[in-house]
Protein backbone atom coordinates (compact mmCIF):
# COMPACT_ATOMS: atom_id res chain seq x y z
CA UNK A 1 0.00 0.00 0.00
CA UNK A 2 1.40 3.36 -1.00
CA UNK A 3 1.80 6.13 1.55
CA UNK A 4 -0.44 9.15 1.26
CA UNK A 5 0.91 12.65 1.59
CA UNK A 6 -0.20 15.41 3.94
CA UNK A 7 1.23 18.87 3.52
CA UNK A 8 2.59 20.68 6.57
CA UNK A 9 2.55 24.41 6.11
CA UNK A 10 4.44 25.46 9.22
CA UNK A 11 8.11 26.14 8.34
CA UNK A 12 10.97 24.96 10.54
CA UNK A 13 12.33 28.50 10.72
CA UNK A 14 10.31 31.37 12.14
CA UNK A 15 11.75 34.33 10.26
CA UNK A 16 13.56 34.97 6.96
CA UNK A 17 16.65 35.91 8.97
CA UNK A 18 16.60 32.61 10.80
CA UNK A 19 16.16 30.81 7.51
CA UNK A 20 19.14 32.62 6.05
CA UNK A 21 21.22 31.66 9.07
CA UNK A 22 20.22 28.02 8.59
CA UNK A 23 21.21 28.19 4.92
CA UNK A 24 24.54 29.83 5.69
CA UNK A 25 25.29 27.19 8.31
CA UNK A 26 24.42 24.45 5.87
CA UNK A 27 26.68 26.05 3.22
CA UNK A 28 29.61 26.27 5.62
CA UNK A 29 29.28 22.69 6.83
CA UNK A 30 28.91 21.38 3.28
CA UNK A 31 31.93 23.38 2.07
CA UNK A 32 34.18 21.81 4.71
CA UNK A 33 32.61 18.40 4.14
CA UNK A 34 33.30 18.61 0.41
CA UNK A 35 36.91 19.58 1.05
CA UNK A 36 37.44 16.39 3.07
CA UNK A 37 35.48 14.36 0.52
CA UNK A 38 37.59 15.60 -2.37
CA UNK A 39 40.81 15.13 -0.39
CA UNK A 40 39.79 11.50 0.01
CA UNK A 41 38.36 10.68 -3.42
CA UNK A 42 40.57 12.78 -5.69
CA UNK A 43 43.68 11.74 -3.83
CA UNK A 44 43.00 8.00 -3.83
CA UNK A 45 42.19 8.09 -7.54
CA UNK A 46 45.42 10.01 -8.12
CA UNK A 47 47.65 7.61 -6.21
CA UNK A 48 46.15 4.58 -7.95
CA UNK A 49 46.39 5.96 -11.49
CA UNK A 50 49.38 8.31 -11.65
CA UNK A 51 50.76 7.77 -8.17
CA UNK A 52 54.27 6.67 -9.04
CA UNK A 53 54.81 9.67 -11.30
CA UNK A 54 53.72 11.95 -8.51
CA UNK A 55 55.55 10.22 -5.66
CA UNK A 56 59.13 10.45 -6.88
CA UNK A 57 61.47 12.91 -8.51
CA UNK A 58 63.00 10.41 -10.89
CA UNK A 59 59.58 9.33 -12.21
CA UNK A 60 58.77 12.93 -13.18
CA UNK A 61 60.04 12.42 -16.70
CA UNK A 62 59.58 14.42 -19.86
CA UNK A 63 57.06 12.08 -21.51
CA UNK A 64 54.80 9.98 -19.30
CA UNK A 65 54.52 12.40 -16.37
CA UNK A 66 53.68 15.38 -18.56
CA UNK A 67 51.11 13.52 -20.64
CA UNK A 68 49.65 11.08 -18.21
CA UNK A 69 49.07 13.24 -15.15
CA UNK A 70 46.92 16.10 -16.55
CA UNK A 71 44.95 13.78 -18.84
CA UNK A 72 43.95 11.42 -16.03
CA UNK A 73 43.55 14.17 -13.48
CA UNK A 74 41.04 16.25 -15.43
CA UNK A 75 38.36 13.54 -15.16
CA UNK A 76 37.09 14.30 -11.68
CA UNK A 77 37.30 18.11 -11.97
CA UNK A 78 35.23 17.86 -15.16
CA UNK A 79 32.50 15.82 -13.43
CA UNK A 80 32.42 18.05 -10.35
CA UNK A 81 32.61 21.18 -12.48
CA UNK A 82 29.39 20.13 -14.18
CA UNK A 83 27.62 19.59 -10.84
CA UNK A 84 28.84 22.91 -9.41
CA UNK A 85 28.07 24.91 -12.55
CA UNK A 86 24.83 23.32 -13.70
CA UNK A 87 23.17 23.30 -10.28
CA UNK A 88 24.87 26.02 -8.21
CA UNK A 89 26.50 28.36 -10.76
CA UNK A 90 29.76 28.09 -8.87
CA UNK A 91 32.81 28.41 -11.14
CA UNK A 92 35.53 27.12 -8.81
CA UNK A 93 35.17 23.33 -8.81
CA UNK A 94 38.51 22.59 -10.51
CA UNK A 95 40.42 24.99 -8.26
CA UNK A 96 38.70 23.56 -5.19
CA UNK A 97 39.59 20.02 -6.21
CA UNK A 98 43.19 20.71 -7.11
CA UNK A 99 43.70 22.62 -3.86
CA UNK A 100 42.26 19.74 -1.85
CA UNK A 101 44.54 17.32 -3.71
CA UNK A 102 47.70 19.29 -3.01
CA UNK A 103 46.78 19.67 0.67
CA UNK A 104 46.10 15.92 1.00
CA UNK A 105 49.35 15.07 -0.78
CA UNK A 106 51.47 17.34 1.39
CA UNK A 107 49.92 15.93 4.55
CA UNK A 108 50.93 12.48 3.35
CA UNK A 109 54.36 13.31 2.07
CA UNK A 110 55.33 14.93 5.37
CA UNK A 111 53.60 12.55 7.78
CA UNK A 112 54.09 9.26 5.97
CA UNK A 113 56.55 9.24 3.09
CA UNK A 114 58.99 11.38 5.07
CA UNK A 115 57.84 10.70 8.62
CA UNK A 116 57.52 6.92 8.31
CA UNK A 117 59.43 5.73 5.24
CA UNK A 118 62.14 8.39 5.72
CA UNK A 119 62.46 9.62 2.14
CA UNK A 120 63.78 13.21 1.91
CA UNK A 121 61.11 15.77 1.08
CA UNK A 122 62.97 17.05 -1.98
CA UNK A 123 62.61 13.57 -3.48
CA UNK A 124 58.86 13.15 -2.82
CA UNK A 125 57.29 16.58 -3.36
CA UNK A 126 53.92 16.46 -5.13
CA UNK A 127 53.24 18.18 -8.41
CA UNK A 128 50.67 20.95 -8.42
CA UNK A 129 47.58 21.23 -10.59
CA UNK A 130 46.25 24.42 -9.00
CA UNK A 131 47.21 26.71 -11.94
CA UNK A 132 45.49 24.25 -14.30
CA UNK A 133 42.36 24.38 -12.16
CA UNK A 134 42.42 28.18 -12.08
CA UNK A 135 42.69 28.29 -15.87
CA UNK A 136 39.82 25.85 -16.38
CA UNK A 137 37.54 27.64 -13.92
CA UNK A 138 38.40 31.08 -15.29
CA UNK A 139 37.64 29.95 -18.83
CA UNK A 140 34.26 28.66 -17.69
CA UNK A 141 33.52 31.90 -15.86
CA UNK A 142 34.47 34.08 -18.83
CA UNK A 143 32.76 32.04 -21.52
CA UNK A 144 29.71 30.86 -19.55
CA UNK A 145 29.91 27.72 -21.65
CA UNK A 146 30.80 24.17 -20.65
CA UNK A 147 31.77 23.45 -24.27
CA UNK A 148 34.14 26.39 -24.66
CA UNK A 149 35.53 25.78 -21.19
CA UNK A 150 36.31 22.24 -22.32
CA UNK A 151 37.97 23.29 -25.57
CA UNK A 152 40.04 26.21 -24.29
CA UNK A 153 40.17 25.53 -20.56
CA UNK A 154 40.77 21.83 -21.07
CA UNK A 155 43.64 22.54 -23.43
CA UNK A 156 45.10 25.04 -20.99
CA UNK A 157 44.78 22.45 -18.23
CA UNK A 158 47.02 20.06 -20.13
CA UNK A 159 49.48 22.65 -21.34
CA UNK A 160 49.89 24.53 -18.07
CA UNK A 161 50.82 21.44 -16.09
CA UNK A 162 54.44 21.43 -17.18
CA UNK A 163 54.77 25.21 -17.03
CA UNK A 164 53.36 25.27 -13.52
CA UNK A 165 55.69 22.53 -12.33
CA UNK A 166 58.80 23.68 -14.19
CA UNK A 167 60.13 25.78 -11.27
CA UNK A 168 59.75 22.71 -9.04
CA UNK A 169 61.39 20.13 -11.32
CA UNK A 170 64.07 22.29 -12.96
CA UNK A 171 66.72 21.97 -10.23
CA UNK A 172 66.46 18.19 -10.42
CA UNK A 173 67.02 18.09 -14.18
CA UNK A 174 70.55 19.46 -13.88
CA UNK A 175 73.00 16.96 -15.45
CA UNK A 176 75.59 15.19 -13.35
CA UNK A 177 78.41 12.84 -14.24
CA UNK A 178 78.74 9.88 -11.91
CA UNK A 179 81.60 7.50 -12.65
CA UNK A 180 81.37 8.31 -16.33
CA UNK A 181 77.59 7.96 -16.59
CA UNK A 182 75.54 11.03 -17.46
CA UNK A 183 72.31 11.40 -15.54
CA UNK A 184 70.09 14.00 -13.91
CA UNK A 185 70.01 14.89 -10.24
CA UNK A 186 66.58 13.20 -10.10
CA UNK A 187 68.04 9.97 -11.51
CA UNK A 188 70.82 10.10 -8.97
CA UNK A 189 68.31 10.53 -6.15
CA UNK A 190 66.38 7.51 -7.42
CA UNK A 191 69.45 5.29 -7.56
CA UNK A 192 70.33 6.27 -4.01
CA UNK A 193 66.85 5.40 -2.79
CA UNK A 194 66.15 1.98 -4.32
CA UNK A 195 62.44 1.13 -4.08
CA UNK A 196 60.35 -1.83 -5.09
CA UNK A 197 59.33 0.35 -8.04
CA UNK A 198 62.91 0.76 -9.26
CA UNK A 199 62.73 -2.10 -11.83
CA UNK A 200 59.59 -0.53 -13.30
CA UNK A 201 61.35 2.83 -13.33
CA UNK A 202 64.14 1.35 -15.40
CA UNK A 203 61.66 -0.41 -17.70
CA UNK A 204 59.28 2.54 -18.22
CA UNK A 205 61.18 5.74 -17.52
CA UNK A 206 64.90 5.29 -17.89
CA UNK A 207 64.93 4.14 -21.50
CA UNK A 208 67.54 5.00 -24.06
CA UNK A 209 65.23 6.36 -26.72
CA UNK A 210 64.08 9.90 -26.16
CA UNK A 211 65.69 9.93 -22.71
CA UNK A 212 66.51 13.61 -22.48
CA UNK A 213 66.74 16.42 -19.99
CA UNK A 214 63.76 18.17 -21.58
CA UNK A 215 64.04 19.41 -25.16
CA UNK A 216 61.81 18.10 -27.96
CA UNK A 217 59.76 15.41 -26.14
CA UNK A 218 58.53 18.03 -23.71
CA UNK A 219 56.77 20.06 -26.41
CA UNK A 220 55.23 16.96 -27.94
CA UNK A 221 54.08 15.65 -24.57
CA UNK A 222 52.61 18.99 -23.56
CA UNK A 223 50.66 19.35 -26.80
CA UNK A 224 49.40 15.77 -26.54
CA UNK A 225 48.34 16.39 -22.95
CA UNK A 226 46.42 19.49 -24.02
CA UNK A 227 44.45 17.71 -26.73
CA UNK A 228 43.75 14.63 -24.65
CA UNK A 229 42.65 16.74 -21.68
CA UNK A 230 39.93 18.22 -23.91
CA UNK A 231 38.71 14.74 -24.86
CA UNK A 232 38.67 13.42 -21.30
CA UNK A 233 36.95 16.60 -20.08
CA UNK A 234 34.13 16.09 -22.59
CA UNK A 235 33.65 12.46 -21.55
CA UNK A 236 33.56 13.15 -17.84
CA UNK A 237 31.21 16.09 -18.11
CA UNK A 238 28.79 13.28 -18.94
CA UNK A 239 29.64 11.52 -15.70
CA UNK A 240 28.79 14.72 -13.84
CA UNK A 241 25.49 14.85 -15.68
CA UNK A 242 24.69 11.29 -14.57
CA UNK A 243 25.39 12.10 -10.93
CA UNK A 244 23.21 15.22 -11.14
CA UNK A 245 20.36 13.18 -12.57
CA UNK A 246 20.68 10.76 -9.68
CA UNK A 247 19.11 13.52 -7.58
CA UNK A 248 15.76 12.40 -8.93
CA UNK A 249 16.32 8.70 -8.33
CA UNK A 250 14.52 7.09 -5.46
CA UNK A 251 13.93 3.39 -4.95
CA UNK A 252 10.78 2.22 -3.20
CA UNK A 253 12.32 -1.17 -2.52
CA UNK A 254 15.71 -2.76 -2.73
Amino acid sequence: MAASLRARTEPATATPEERQRAYRRFDLIVAVLLFFLFMGLYHVITILTVGDWDFWDDWKDSRWWLSFTPVVEIAMPAAILYIFWARFRLPFAATFLTLSLVVAEWINRVANMHGWAYFPLNFIWPATLIPCGLALDTTLLLTDSLLLAGIFGGFLWGVLFYLANWPLIAPFLAPVNLNGALMSIADLQGFHYIRTGTPEYIRIINRGTLRTFGQDPVYLSVAFAGFMSVVVYMAFIGVGWVFVRSQFSWLKKI
Binding site: R6, E10, A12, V44, I45
Partner: protein, 279 residues
Protein backbone atom coordinates in the same frame (compact mmCIF):
# COMPACT_ATOMS: atom_id res chain seq x y z
CA UNK B 1 38.46 51.51 18.54
CA UNK B 2 34.98 52.80 17.72
CA UNK B 3 34.73 50.27 14.91
CA UNK B 4 35.79 47.49 17.20
CA UNK B 5 33.16 48.42 19.78
CA UNK B 6 30.47 48.58 17.14
CA UNK B 7 31.47 45.20 15.85
CA UNK B 8 31.30 43.80 19.34
CA UNK B 9 27.83 45.22 19.82
CA UNK B 10 26.62 43.68 16.57
CA UNK B 11 28.10 40.35 17.54
CA UNK B 12 26.36 40.43 20.90
CA UNK B 13 23.08 41.26 19.24
CA UNK B 14 23.54 38.41 16.83
CA UNK B 15 24.28 36.02 19.65
CA UNK B 16 21.15 37.11 21.53
CA UNK B 17 19.11 36.69 18.40
CA UNK B 18 20.46 33.17 17.87
CA UNK B 19 19.78 32.29 21.47
CA UNK B 20 16.21 33.46 21.08
CA UNK B 21 15.62 31.30 18.02
CA UNK B 22 16.57 28.08 19.72
CA UNK B 23 19.54 25.72 19.60
CA UNK B 24 22.03 25.76 16.73
CA UNK B 25 21.01 23.73 13.75
CA UNK B 26 23.61 21.15 12.70
CA UNK B 27 25.43 20.87 16.00
CA UNK B 28 29.06 21.93 15.71
CA UNK B 29 29.96 20.18 19.02
CA UNK B 30 28.42 16.96 17.66
CA UNK B 31 30.60 17.17 14.56
CA UNK B 32 33.66 18.11 16.61
CA UNK B 33 33.20 15.19 19.00
CA UNK B 34 32.52 12.72 16.18
CA UNK B 35 35.50 13.86 14.14
CA UNK B 36 37.61 14.01 17.32
CA UNK B 37 36.89 10.36 18.07
CA UNK B 38 37.69 9.35 14.49
CA UNK B 39 40.90 11.41 14.53
CA UNK B 40 41.90 9.86 17.87
CA UNK B 41 41.40 6.33 16.53
CA UNK B 42 43.37 7.09 13.36
CA UNK B 43 46.22 8.98 15.01
CA UNK B 44 46.55 6.25 17.64
CA UNK B 45 46.90 3.66 14.88
CA UNK B 46 49.47 5.83 13.09
CA UNK B 47 51.54 6.22 16.26
CA UNK B 48 51.39 2.46 16.82
CA UNK B 49 52.77 2.00 13.31
CA UNK B 50 55.54 4.47 14.02
CA UNK B 51 56.48 2.54 17.14
CA UNK B 52 56.25 -1.07 15.96
CA UNK B 53 56.25 -1.25 12.14
CA UNK B 54 60.00 -1.15 11.61
CA UNK B 55 60.91 -2.89 14.86
CA UNK B 56 58.41 -5.77 14.70
CA UNK B 57 56.63 -5.63 11.34
CA UNK B 58 59.23 -6.75 8.79
CA UNK B 59 59.04 -10.55 9.17
CA UNK B 60 55.59 -12.12 9.36
CA UNK B 61 57.04 -15.37 10.69
CA UNK B 62 58.67 -13.79 13.73
CA UNK B 63 57.15 -13.99 17.22
CA UNK B 64 57.28 -10.21 17.46
CA UNK B 65 55.07 -9.91 14.41
CA UNK B 66 52.51 -12.23 15.93
CA UNK B 67 52.59 -10.33 19.19
CA UNK B 68 52.41 -6.75 17.91
CA UNK B 69 50.61 -7.06 14.59
CA UNK B 70 48.42 -10.15 14.44
CA UNK B 71 47.15 -9.49 17.94
CA UNK B 72 46.41 -5.92 16.92
CA UNK B 73 44.45 -7.26 13.93
CA UNK B 74 42.33 -9.53 16.14
CA UNK B 75 41.75 -6.71 18.63
CA UNK B 76 40.59 -4.50 15.76
CA UNK B 77 38.11 -7.13 14.61
CA UNK B 78 36.71 -7.40 18.13
CA UNK B 79 36.45 -3.61 18.52
CA UNK B 80 34.73 -3.23 15.17
CA UNK B 81 32.22 -6.00 15.86
CA UNK B 82 31.28 -4.45 19.20
CA UNK B 83 31.18 -0.92 17.78
CA UNK B 84 29.05 -1.91 14.80
CA UNK B 85 26.61 -3.91 16.88
CA UNK B 86 26.39 -1.19 19.52
CA UNK B 87 25.99 1.81 17.21
CA UNK B 88 23.71 0.19 14.64
CA UNK B 89 21.71 -1.47 17.40
CA UNK B 90 21.26 1.84 19.20
CA UNK B 91 20.16 3.66 16.05
CA UNK B 92 17.77 0.88 15.10
CA UNK B 93 16.18 0.09 18.46
CA UNK B 94 15.83 3.73 19.53
CA UNK B 95 14.04 4.67 16.34
CA UNK B 96 10.66 6.43 16.56
CA UNK B 97 7.89 4.04 15.53
CA UNK B 98 5.59 6.67 14.06
CA UNK B 99 6.98 9.06 11.48
CA UNK B 100 3.60 10.17 10.21
CA UNK B 101 3.12 12.73 13.00
CA UNK B 102 6.61 14.19 13.21
CA UNK B 103 6.66 17.96 13.70
CA UNK B 104 8.53 20.11 11.20
CA UNK B 105 10.87 21.50 13.86
CA UNK B 106 11.75 18.00 15.00
CA UNK B 107 12.29 16.83 11.43
CA UNK B 108 14.52 19.85 10.86
CA UNK B 109 16.58 18.97 13.96
CA UNK B 110 16.94 15.38 12.81
CA UNK B 111 18.00 16.59 9.39
CA UNK B 112 20.78 18.53 11.11
CA UNK B 113 21.93 15.37 12.91
CA UNK B 114 21.81 13.54 9.57
CA UNK B 115 24.10 16.14 7.97
CA UNK B 116 26.45 15.94 10.97
CA UNK B 117 26.63 12.13 10.66
CA UNK B 118 27.46 12.42 6.97
CA UNK B 119 30.21 14.90 7.87
CA UNK B 120 31.80 12.44 10.30
CA UNK B 121 31.47 9.66 7.70
CA UNK B 122 33.25 11.76 5.07
CA UNK B 123 35.96 12.69 7.57
CA UNK B 124 36.60 8.98 8.14
CA UNK B 125 36.67 8.39 4.37
CA UNK B 126 39.43 11.00 4.12
CA UNK B 127 41.59 9.12 6.61
CA UNK B 128 41.08 5.81 4.84
CA UNK B 129 41.29 6.88 1.21
CA UNK B 130 43.85 9.65 1.42
CA UNK B 131 45.95 9.41 4.56
CA UNK B 132 46.37 5.67 4.97
CA UNK B 133 45.93 5.04 1.24
CA UNK B 134 49.13 6.81 0.29
CA UNK B 135 50.83 5.67 3.45
CA UNK B 136 50.35 2.11 2.16
CA UNK B 137 52.31 3.12 -0.94
CA UNK B 138 55.15 4.48 1.14
CA UNK B 139 55.46 1.16 3.01
CA UNK B 140 55.15 -1.16 0.04
CA UNK B 141 57.54 0.85 -2.08
CA UNK B 142 60.06 0.33 0.68
CA UNK B 143 59.36 -3.15 2.05
CA UNK B 144 58.62 -6.28 -0.01
CA UNK B 145 55.70 -8.05 1.64
CA UNK B 146 55.79 -11.59 2.94
CA UNK B 147 52.15 -11.58 4.04
CA UNK B 148 48.89 -9.87 3.17
CA UNK B 149 48.65 -8.62 6.73
CA UNK B 150 51.39 -6.03 6.62
CA UNK B 151 51.63 -3.17 9.15
CA UNK B 152 50.14 -0.76 6.62
CA UNK B 153 47.37 -3.15 5.53
CA UNK B 154 46.32 -3.99 9.07
CA UNK B 155 45.62 -0.33 9.69
CA UNK B 156 44.32 0.64 6.24
CA UNK B 157 42.10 -2.30 5.30
CA UNK B 158 41.06 -3.62 8.69
CA UNK B 159 40.87 -0.43 10.75
CA UNK B 160 40.30 2.68 8.61
CA UNK B 161 38.02 0.95 6.09
CA UNK B 162 35.69 -0.71 8.63
CA UNK B 163 35.43 2.51 10.64
CA UNK B 164 34.13 4.54 7.72
CA UNK B 165 31.86 1.67 6.69
CA UNK B 166 30.37 1.56 10.19
CA UNK B 167 29.85 5.33 10.12
CA UNK B 168 28.36 5.33 6.62
CA UNK B 169 25.83 2.64 7.45
CA UNK B 170 25.04 4.47 10.71
CA UNK B 171 24.19 7.65 8.79
CA UNK B 172 22.13 5.67 6.31
CA UNK B 173 20.23 3.90 9.08
CA UNK B 174 19.60 7.21 10.83
CA UNK B 175 18.06 8.72 7.72
CA UNK B 176 15.97 5.62 7.09
CA UNK B 177 14.60 5.54 10.61
CA UNK B 178 14.23 9.26 11.46
CA UNK B 179 13.57 11.28 8.33
CA UNK B 180 10.18 10.73 6.66
CA UNK B 181 11.47 11.49 3.21
CA UNK B 182 14.29 8.95 3.45
CA UNK B 183 12.13 6.44 5.32
CA UNK B 184 9.53 6.33 2.56
CA UNK B 185 12.08 5.21 -0.02
CA UNK B 186 15.77 4.74 -0.66
CA UNK B 187 17.80 7.60 -2.07
CA UNK B 188 19.76 6.09 -4.95
CA UNK B 189 22.70 8.56 -4.80
CA UNK B 190 22.96 8.15 -1.02
CA UNK B 191 22.85 4.39 -1.47
CA UNK B 192 25.66 4.67 -4.02
CA UNK B 193 27.59 7.00 -1.70
CA UNK B 194 27.56 4.38 1.07
CA UNK B 195 27.54 1.08 -0.85
CA UNK B 196 30.26 2.13 -3.33
CA UNK B 197 32.94 2.93 -0.74
CA UNK B 198 31.80 -0.18 1.18
CA UNK B 199 32.68 -2.22 -1.92
CA UNK B 200 36.30 -1.20 -1.46
CA UNK B 201 36.47 -3.88 1.24
CA UNK B 202 35.55 -6.76 -1.13
CA UNK B 203 38.04 -5.28 -3.59
CA UNK B 204 40.69 -5.75 -0.89
CA UNK B 205 40.03 -9.49 -1.14
CA UNK B 206 40.59 -9.43 -4.90
CA UNK B 207 43.63 -7.21 -4.46
CA UNK B 208 45.32 -9.51 -2.00
CA UNK B 209 44.39 -12.56 -4.06
CA UNK B 210 46.04 -10.99 -7.09
CA UNK B 211 49.09 -9.87 -5.14
CA UNK B 212 49.60 -13.42 -3.95
CA UNK B 213 49.98 -14.46 -7.59
CA UNK B 214 52.08 -11.75 -9.10
CA UNK B 215 53.67 -9.78 -6.25
CA UNK B 216 52.84 -6.53 -8.02
CA UNK B 217 54.85 -4.19 -5.84
CA UNK B 218 56.63 -2.55 -8.70
CA UNK B 219 54.09 0.08 -9.57
CA UNK B 220 51.41 1.49 -7.30
CA UNK B 221 49.38 2.58 -10.33
CA UNK B 222 49.21 -1.05 -11.50
CA UNK B 223 45.96 -2.26 -13.15
CA UNK B 224 45.28 -4.61 -10.24
CA UNK B 225 44.54 -1.51 -8.16
CA UNK B 226 42.11 0.08 -10.60
CA UNK B 227 39.05 -1.58 -9.08
CA UNK B 228 39.59 0.72 -6.13
CA UNK B 229 39.36 3.66 -8.53
CA UNK B 230 35.96 2.57 -9.86
CA UNK B 231 34.44 2.35 -6.41
CA UNK B 232 36.12 5.56 -5.27
CA UNK B 233 34.18 7.31 -8.05
CA UNK B 234 30.97 6.11 -6.43
CA UNK B 235 31.67 8.57 -3.62
CA UNK B 236 30.34 11.20 -6.00
CA UNK B 237 26.91 9.83 -5.21
CA UNK B 238 27.12 12.33 -2.37
CA UNK B 239 26.74 15.02 -5.06
CA UNK B 240 23.26 13.71 -5.87
CA UNK B 241 22.51 13.50 -2.15
CA UNK B 242 23.62 17.12 -1.73
CA UNK B 243 21.06 18.20 -4.31
CA UNK B 244 18.37 16.16 -2.57
CA UNK B 245 19.41 17.74 0.73
CA UNK B 246 19.13 21.26 -0.71
CA UNK B 247 15.65 20.46 -1.95
CA UNK B 248 14.73 18.95 1.43
CA UNK B 249 16.12 21.95 3.32
CA UNK B 250 14.12 24.33 1.16
CA UNK B 251 10.91 22.39 1.82
CA UNK B 252 11.45 22.25 5.57
CA UNK B 253 12.23 25.95 5.91
CA UNK B 254 9.46 27.27 3.64
CA UNK B 255 6.48 25.33 4.92
CA UNK B 256 6.35 22.79 2.08
CA UNK B 257 7.31 19.71 4.07
CA UNK B 258 5.30 16.52 3.51
CA UNK B 259 4.10 13.94 5.97
CA UNK B 260 3.94 10.37 4.72
CA UNK B 261 0.99 8.49 6.18
CA UNK B 262 0.75 4.75 5.71
CA UNK B 263 3.39 2.29 4.65
CA UNK B 264 5.65 2.09 1.62
CA UNK B 265 6.60 4.94 -0.65
CA UNK B 266 4.19 7.54 -1.98
CA UNK B 267 2.77 7.24 -5.48
CA UNK B 268 3.54 10.88 -6.07
CA UNK B 269 7.10 11.88 -5.28
CA UNK B 270 7.53 15.52 -4.21
CA UNK B 271 11.20 15.37 -5.11
CA UNK B 272 10.19 15.05 -8.72
CA UNK B 273 8.28 18.35 -8.53
CA UNK B 274 11.65 20.00 -8.29
CA UNK B 275 12.72 18.17 -11.44
CA UNK B 276 9.71 19.50 -13.31
CA UNK B 277 10.40 23.01 -12.05
CA UNK B 278 14.04 22.76 -13.03
CA UNK B 279 13.23 21.62 -16.53
Amino acid sequence: MATLLNTTKVSDATLRSEAATGPQWISAPFIAIGCGIVAFLMVAARLYQQQYAWSAGLDATSPEFQKYWMNLLFAQFAFEAVAAAGIWGYVWFSRPRDLSHVETHEEFRRFGVFVALIFVYVFAVFWAASFFGEEDASWHQTVVRDTSFTPSHIVLFYWAFPIYIILGITAYLYGRTRLPRFAARHSLPWLIGVAGPFMLLPVVAFNEWAHSFWILEERFAAPVHWWFVIFAWSGLGLGGLLLQACDYLHELTTGRAQTYEGTGGPDHDPALDFEREAS
